[in-house]
């Protein structure tokens, strides 16, 4: 939160005097969100219901989960294009394990546990691979993760031969369908993840190191921070988050489709991070901002769909709103 609210000095021309505007800009994402909600309350039928909240929260979950990992990666000055493909890999792997395609497991609880842990870990390992390329070979993050963006989905498709895997395994699907206390399980997971990441980013040595690496790699190395390890870690975390998100998606759908799970997720997640106010150049990050950014984008999507805006036009509107929200964010910084 601190980054959203802390007044930050201007680097230049900014101080042209529009202070009210500067104030508005500081809370850009929040304002955008409030305006959207107000619009919906006025125009969208059946908006002020618990179920609407439910629908939006469950739909935004996967983006947020992925975007949390993405925020950390971006904070180090990197970017992770492979998240969608990693979702597909974990989404493809889990059912293969708990359905016993790879090896038969007698106890379904055991099978599910093994499946969840393995597939998240495998995604994490692929993330580690990204980190390895970035830190060891100094390959630029966009390209390093482009490799798995291309190959990763291929791997998932090869694993399943492109076939849909369908299942009804409540022991597994709680992650997408259960509602303890009426709150969807994935919303709880998302909330815990957001809180944990925000806390870690601002209150731990690890978080501080992430920001330092993003802010000045050379200086961080000389200050004794293990830059390579930090990078390995953030990409691995991003992989783990993607793996988890992959499981959530397939659980909700009762099916896993390696071709489609996580398709286009990287752009959604990056957009959420940016709309939330994190600089793509690294060195600064706000996890809560990312949450708000994701919610904004989700609400835009909901609003356009619910009001019957044709898809093509919706794209244009969405573009405008993303650009506007990020522009608002920029104002107090410039």
């Amino acid at each position: 939160m601190s980054d959203l609210t802390r007044p930050s000095a201007a680097h230049d021309a900014g101080t042209r005097g529009f202070n009210l505007f500067g104030f508005l800009a500081r809370y850009g994402t929040v304002i955008a969100l409030v305006v959207l909600i107000a619009f919906n309350l006025a125009y969208t039928r059946n908006f002020a219901t618990l179920q609407t909240l439910n629908v939006n929260l469950t739909q935004v979950c996967t983006i947020v989960i992925v975007a949390v990992g993405m925020t950390l990666v971006i904070a180090t000055g990197g970017i992770d294009l492979s998240v969608g493909s990693l979702m597909a890999i974990s989404g493809a792997l889990a059912p293969m394990i708990f359905l016993g395609t790879i090896f038969p497991v007698g106890n379904i609880y055991l099978a599910v546990a093994v499946a969840m842990i393995t597939s998240i870990l495998v995604a994490g390992l692929f993330g580690l691979f990204n980190g390895w390329l970035v830190s060891r070979f100094r390959i630029q993050p966009i390209v390093a993760t482009l490799v798995l963006f291309i190959a990763g989905r291929g791997i998932a498709q090869v694993m399943t031969n492109g076939n849909l895997q369908t299942f009804r395994v409540p022991q597994f699907q709680w992650i997408g369908l259960a509602r303890p206390l009426g709150i969807p399980a994935q919303v709880i997971i998302m909330a815990v993840l957001v809180a944990a990441a925000a806390w870690a980013l601002h209150r731990t040595v690890f978080g501080r190191s992430i920001l330092a690496v993003g802010g000045n790699e050379e200086a961080s190395e000389l200050a004794g921070i293990a830059v390579s390890k930090i990078k390995l870690a953030v990409y691995a975390i991003s992989g783990l988050c993607a793996g988890l998100a992959g499981l959530v998606v397939i659980a909700i759908n009762s099916s896993s489709d390696a071709n489609l799970v996580g398709l286009g997720m990287e752009l959604d997640a990056i957009a959420a991070v940016a709309v939330g106010g994190t600089l793509l150049s690294g060195g600064k990050a706000t996890i809560f901002g990312t949450l708000l950014g994701a919610l904004t984008i989700q609400l835009v999507r909901y609003t356009l769909l619910a009001n019957g805006v044709p898809d093509a036009a919706a794209l244009v509107v969405k573009a405008g709103i993303i650009a506007f929200a990020v522009w608002l964010q920029q104002q107090h910084r410039v």
């Binding site: 680097h11 021309a13 040595v205 920001l211 330092a212 190395e221 000389l222 293990a226």
Partner: protein, 515 residues
Amino acid sequence: MTAQPDPAALLLDMRDIQKRFAGIPALADASLQVGPGEVHALIGQNGAGKSTLIKVLTGYYRRDAGQVLFEQKPFEVGSPHQAQVSGISTIYQEINLVPLRSVTENICLGRENRRRGLLDWRAMHAEAERLLSRFSMHIDVRHPLSDFNTATQQMVAIARAIGFSARLVIMDEPTSSLDEREVSVLFSVIRQLKVEGVSVLFVSHKLDELYEVCDRVTIMRDGRTVRSAAMSDIGRLELVAAMLGRDVAAVEGHATAFGERDRSRIGDVLFAAQGLAAGQSVRDVTFDVRRGEIAGFAGLLGAGRTETARLVFGADRLKAGEMTMEGASYRPARAADAIAAGLGFCTEDRKAEGIVPEMTVAENITLALLPKISRNGILNEARQREIVERFIRELGIKCSGPNQKVRELSGGNQQKVLLARWLAMNPKLLILDEPTRGIDVGAKGEIQRLIRTLADDGLGVLMISSELEEVLEGADRIFVLREGESVAELEGQATSEEDVLAAMAHGSSAEGTAA
């Protein structure tokens, strides 16, 4: 305000300039008058607003209030480009060139030679070589700028600025990374400019230099112009007093503030290096540092002092040689190993290797200290605050608070933040590469005193400085490096400047330092 030049003939007339950053004034009421063909000094403490005033003038920042007349006409520029076109050429405080591009490009971009509408590379290379030769620099101008060391880069920046046929050349601390030889070359060029009728605005913290080349001086304090006078009308003490805002008596005579040292407090050998070598720049360096001792490295630019320090700190990989720390063999693979062994390293290039600009003062100070102010990886905020506040106080870091971003600090205060980072670590051996670069006289004294106090308490210090005076007075022993080899070991304080210079220069031709 004594002896104003004729207002009608002023080249530059800035009055009542104000500039605020996020509400905090950096310039409250600054004025500056520069006559034609005049070398004008602009001085003030770190954070007084010198660089800001310059950036306001060149259109990098927009001023909040005030008027600027240039050549008697109102001067409104929106960008450094327009300022350049209007006849103001600037060397900014941090070297602002493009390291990836060739020297030629860095010098010639913005006023390219053309033939039939296309760039004439041949002519541009020749032009770059011609400009550099004015500074007796002979380097391969086709190489990327990053192939050269800081000093060479600084000279390139100067060559670039001189190359524009400007009416006013602004130099913001151009000499902070130059050695005496290069400084004297620069000064001869400045004098030549003066003959050509070009005015120079010269910022420096080194008073000797000001007295050597400047005609007039403007003194700033806390964003205001407090005095403007002919250089000959104002004595050193008066100058410093005006700058610091104190009585003349209070700033009575010091060149450096190391003072006399009590040799008896120097202990046994803390660190020793034998025959260090790596690559071209370090070939055979042997030296040692004792507990409680300040050891100095002297040498010309490119002698390999910085590179040696990087080797000791594990920032670069050692090819040959042995090191011991507290008697035990020491071979750091990375900086973290060095830190664990009790070393600290304050680098010379604070922008690239020092500060994390987007982070706060507090976060920067504690950057190397993270393991010590945390438990189980969780930061102890209270402990951090305590340390940070102590160092802000002790070093007199001028900032709005521990939460101000470091990039918003003036150059000198950034340097203090870096010093604080390493001091806070409480190291056994502290390597200081140009520790007082860009630091104002007041703070410089404080830092030097601090270094001595630390040494008196048993800290070993390895100090690299291009200011011979600083090494001579501060160091207990001086190791002279030449072309990557340690060629002499001299007693500090007892040694004369001539001895060191002789050792430094003997047989070496410290011209261009192409890789």
